[in-house]
């Protein structure tokens, strides 16, 4: 693991690191904030998954999470959103696919299957590295994210409730199988058989029996992607049928940007902290 930067911030250290991911077969960059902690103390860890077009840097620069993470003593890890590099297949003119749009899945289709394995990266490569270098308590992990990353958090939590104790999301995609901006990506990553897409769709996972203790979701009412891309009511419906408690806060006048995310970031961190202990 190479340290690209490490700066004191809100009493802790905000770092940016690079390592070679086996799953993604390329170097990957990620950010970790470690709050001020007593010597030899381990802390809960919150995984923050970012949205389409983002890297680790968007939430690090604009997410305003450090004051809350420092207050509650939580380590926050912000991975990249896809593999990147010269050898990684991409569609540079398509912001909804390829680099910056990994959708937190393991692709099965050539030429994407050899690099686009973000599910394995988030579940295996990165946690092993983070556990080796930072004082994380693996029994107290939460996951959250924004948009594509909010959906990634929902699906990973539903599939691994043993690993993740808490899950929340800002303006998550709720049903990528039927949303215009994600259907095409699922087809290219996973093939045309839509049955294989259900493992990477939050509402389908719930329909297929996956459960989680509770979700917290915030969604802006002025979000331009609300009606076509995000559709929180689909998650609301699925959770209601499955008796999964969902707190869905519709936030009047907020859009899809980090102005929205940063406004409610401290509440989300506090919510996770209260449950992770």
């Amino acid at each position: 693991m190479e340290t690209l930067s490490a700066q004191k911030s809100h009493g802790g250290v905000q770092g940016v690191y690079r390592h070679v991911s086996v799953s993604c077969a390329c170097p990957m960059t990620f950010a970790v904030y470690v709050p001020p902690l007593p010597e030899n103390k381990k802390a809960p860890v919150l995984w923050y998954l970012s949205g389409l077009t983002c890297t680790h840097a968007n939430v690090m620069d604009k997410g305003e999470y450090r004051a809350a993470a420092a207050k509650y003593g939580i380590i926050l890890v912000a991975p990249d959103t896809s593999p990147r590099g010269e050898n990684v297949p991409d569609e540079p003119d398509n912001w909804q696919f390829g680099c910056g749009a990994g959708f937190y899945l393991d692709a099965t289709q050539p030429p994407f299957a050899s690099h686009y394995r973000m599910e394995s990266y988030i579940l295996d490569d990165l946690p092993a590295l983070v556990a080796a270098h930072f004082p994380v308590d693996p029994t107290r992990q939460g996951i959250f994210g924004h948009s594509m990353g909010g959906h990634g958090a929902l699906t990973l939590a539903l599939k691994h409730p043993d690993r993740f104790k808490t899950c929340s999301a800002f303006a998550p995609i709720t049903q990528p199988m039927t949303a215009d901006w994600s259907k095409g990506a699922l087809a290219k990553y996973l093939g045309s058989d839509e049955a294989s897409w259900r493992a990477y769709d939050a509402t389908a996972l719930i329909e297929d029996g996956k459960r989680f203790p509770e979700f917290l979701v915030d969604q802006g009412t002025a979000d331009p992607f609300l009606d076509n891309g995000l559709r929180p009511w689909l998650l609301e419906e699925a959770c209601a049928k499955a008796n999964i408690p969902l707190t869905l806060n519709m936030r009047e006048g907020y859009d899809h940007s980090y102005h929205f995310v940063s406004t409610f970031m401290a509440e989300h961190v506090a919510w996770h902290a209260a449950r992770l202990g």
Copy 2:
């Protein structure tokens, strides 16, 4: 005034605007955050002056001021750091002079005098525009800033204690007349007669009789510019001799970046709010 963006954030509105400045003879971009306010209520205004290489965007993206500005009901204005544009003389390879390095002075030397008039811009053009478009209370104005902008805040406050009731700074340059990274700029903007520089040097202004009720300064001990560029002890000495109360907080382990600024931003906004009422 043209609105480039306006987004709900922390209950208020973060906007970015452009107008043609008469003083700088070019279009200028600036950011304004308006907190949630009762109808017809006017709010105190805090002017935030940024440092070398910055635009209005650095503090808007990384400064983490909105939660505190919303809490205390304060309007925050973040101007650019220089005139910009094709007709504006510049030294593109020199980050300490020209575009991004206006030093909040009115240049007297050709070819810079026709555009580099940031003192007049901050004191005349921008306040008139802001007063016409935003609910500011002109009797309650404070000023602060970072690095070159921290110094700009100190000098403008010292010269206009009638206008600015409060002044604070993050890692300000304290004596640009003798600092390597600013001497050259002062010579090019103001000419070789160093007597003319004294109107744009905080410690010289104090030596020459200017006074201000009190200053708050935060400075990181791991700031790479501490010993050669910033030297807070020069301000401390000048304030002590002039009986100007100075609270100088040396912050262990912090550098010169927005990780430092954002960590202490809420404290500064609260400090101004307590004094502006």
